[in-house]
Symmetry: C3
Subunit: 323 residues, 3 copies
């Protein structure tokens, strides 16, 4: 730490738009050019950047993490008192901790358990026999189906659905017979899930979202899939049923992972990656065709349909020239 201990900080701000009274941070080198002129009253900086800033500073190897902690301390979610809003409905057989809050329009069904200090915002549904650990936060309009189990400190954004039926259908004579979805979903501690993401219940055994997993918005997790601890999955990714995704995996937006395959620990999949087979070694993996002008893309993509033929013709020429 550097600077006057009497400096008063009221809020966090971006380096380029900070006003006096705020603390900013520099984590991305792209923003280094704003450092000299920033109006922030204090800065969170790495040791390498510390010499570029004359004011009060918190110097740390990981400015982004320290910023996150400072921001959380300066802007905590509003406090709440335990209780059940008169417009909520809690089944008499449900157990709600006395210091948990059930918001207006929310429904807690028979046999459900809501742990200490949970905050259930408006218009949520906690299904029959679902169980929530301590300090969970369901912002609003979240739906947990029957028997879903959440660990502690789970944060669910609006529109999240956990425990809907998996896509289990069996073909018979040109029709689809529904396969009952009898498993549930178990969500570990410190999981955060983004708006309108869906996690299906297992067909027979539980779908697993392990501790520390972070899912962005509009992600689909199929029935019986496992997402290993501390993995992070960005927006609009789909993980098909019974996929086994390891720990510390990062999957960028709009990628797809096939069903019944494995992705080992410490794999990174880039945006729109098409994961059709198991990934058995840690590393960074990609697929897809980068953007081009439509005019160029049309010419090239037409040729893709003849790539195998081109390869054969190339080999033929090589053979001719060798002879």
């Amino acid at each position: 730490m550097r600077g006057d201990a009497a400096t008063r900080i009221q809020r966090v701000a971006t380096i380029q738009n900070a006003a006096p009274g705020s603390i900013a941070f520099l984590a991305n080198p792209k923003y280094r050019r704003y450092l000299t002129d920033s109006q922030a009253s204090a800065m969170i900086l790495s040791p390498e950047d510390a010499s570029g800033w004359q004011g009060a500073a918190l110097v740390t190897k990981n400015p982004y993490v320290l910023y996150a902690r400072v921001a959380a301390a300066l802007s905590p979610p509003p406090p709440f008192q335990g209780g059940v809003h008169p417009r909520a409905w809690v089944d008499p057989s449900a157990k709600v901790a006395s210091d948990a809050w059930i918001g207006p329009g929310s429904v807690v069904e028979a046999g459900a358990e809501v742990g200490a200090r949970c905050f259930i915002g408006p218009n949520c549904v906690i299904g029959r026999d679902a169980k929530l650990g301590e300090d969970c936060r369901l912002t609003a309009s979240v739906t947990l189906c029957h028997e879903v189990v959440l660990g502690k400190r789970v944060l669910l954004n609006p529109g999240v659905v956990i425990g809907g039926d998996g896509f289990g259908i069996a073909p018979e004579g040109g029709r689809w017979i529904k396969v009952p979805q009898l498993g549930s979903v178990r969500v570990g501690d410190d999981v955060e899930i983004g708006a309108n993401t869906t996690v299906d219940r297992g067909a027979l055994e539980d779908t697993l979202i392990e501790e520390g997993v972070k899912l962005d918005n509009l992600v689909q997790i199929g029935h019986g899939a496992r997402i290993g601890a501390h993995s992070a999955i960005a927006g609009c990714v789909a993980i098909a049923g019974s996929a086994n995704v390891g720990k510390h995996v990062m999957i960028a937006g709009m990628a797809g992972v096939n069903g019944h395959i494995e992705v080992v620990d410490n794999v990174v999949i880039t945006a729109m990656g098409m994961v059709t087979n198991s990934v058995t070694e840690p590393g960074v993996y990609s697929s897809g065709i980068p953007l081009d002008t439509q005019r160029n893309w049309r010419k090239n993509s037409v040729r893709f349909r003849h790539l195998d033929e081109m390869a054969r013709r190339l080999a033929e020429l090589e053979k001719k020239l060798k002879d």
Copy 2:
């Protein structure tokens, strides 16, 4: 059937984790290795696998379908009684069958009709003049907009929206004018729709989801599209407006179907398939680039931008060698 008729089965289980008292099944050859040691009290098997199992067995050509039927019989959804929960709101002009259930927080608007034995879970919305056939099940938090029509035995998972406005906009002087969406949505018998899937109402004529169609989670069906009977569409697929998808079509996850095109009956589209033009013959169709290490992918994808040029250079060489 084979074995002691007095065998008591209480539940279904996977072949590898079955305990005594449960019945398991073997449909996927990958799991054959678990057969000998399974602790199941009975097994559902194909004739080819029957000799590998000494215990009680149900032998059938289609073990998965028989399993589905056994599971449904052993684990039916909990029974319910007809009635309107005191925290539901039903408009006086709506008609709700006496043996249908309207859950807490649900709203049934003016003129809507809810058929016999329907189960409407918590926090659903049944819009003005919507009509539900017999035995529909809306798990929770489902929204049906005005005038939407459901057939019989339709199952809608949480977060489903049917009948939102289609994406109808007309350009005028650099702005978009809204085109009123005056059609509705008709959903046939035995349709099942996954969590947070959206089906838009037609611009002028109705969007059609024909009987027996199964839609997974987070699927988008555009205005005026038709999904033919007994087709199955996996997670995160988008079907654009006025697309005409035939019967018995299977579309794997994250595929996209362009607007105003036709996909004939009995077509299969694999995952992430990009369907820009009509598919006029039954068969299996694919597109996309399979995953590779980022290092390899970069080298190859850069070359894609020059594929047309490569093809021309190849033809040039062939010409030279012919001369």
Copy 3:
């Protein structure tokens, strides 16, 4: 205008299915063949098509826009009266205009403001201190989180979530630390958003959806992104955090835009386009591999893994032949 001023029109219809009493339109040349035999009582036509129709007609350069206006006039949304449904919950500190409607099951939290003539359908949530301009319409089951600001005439379809937490996580020792999301979302006038679309609140500064923007269903807008005025984004598109999308941009279905990049005004991205880098010139851009039979696709996509090697071998041959 052409024809008998006494002609009575009651509704709009498609050119091929119009009955007497309806007005149809011809905007797409594909439908010209239906013109002669249409039973419509009046037709909206371009000057070029006017001679092909003998009946009453509205002749205009932009038949689709005029049709939109006529349809809106003939089929306005049902009128409503101001008020709060007895089953809605409005916090005493919220301000709801006397001519706005709050539907059953909806919740308006502390400090929120709902402007004149707003229609809030059933089961919506208006978060703490959110502000809605005049004439907004939230069909049903919409969730606005705290402090979100809507302009005038904003139309939100069911399941829309605005202001959920952005995907802000910082890595520390193999775990993810949550980065508080302290910005909000500002939505301009005349914006329309489709069912189950999500717009995240900014990490520090607001996410911006400028005036006249149209978003289709299941679109994801990441934290701190900006969508410029009068841009239109089709279904299942994802725009990552801090992306800066210009004005009058059109993005077709399932395309993805990377974070922290810019797409300038007047760009068109075709369906499934993979926008990894900034697009700095107006124009039409594409990517992806068009559909083929699975058999052909397999042969070609295998070769893609060797495209760089093929290019080198081709260059090698060219060199040999030059020598």
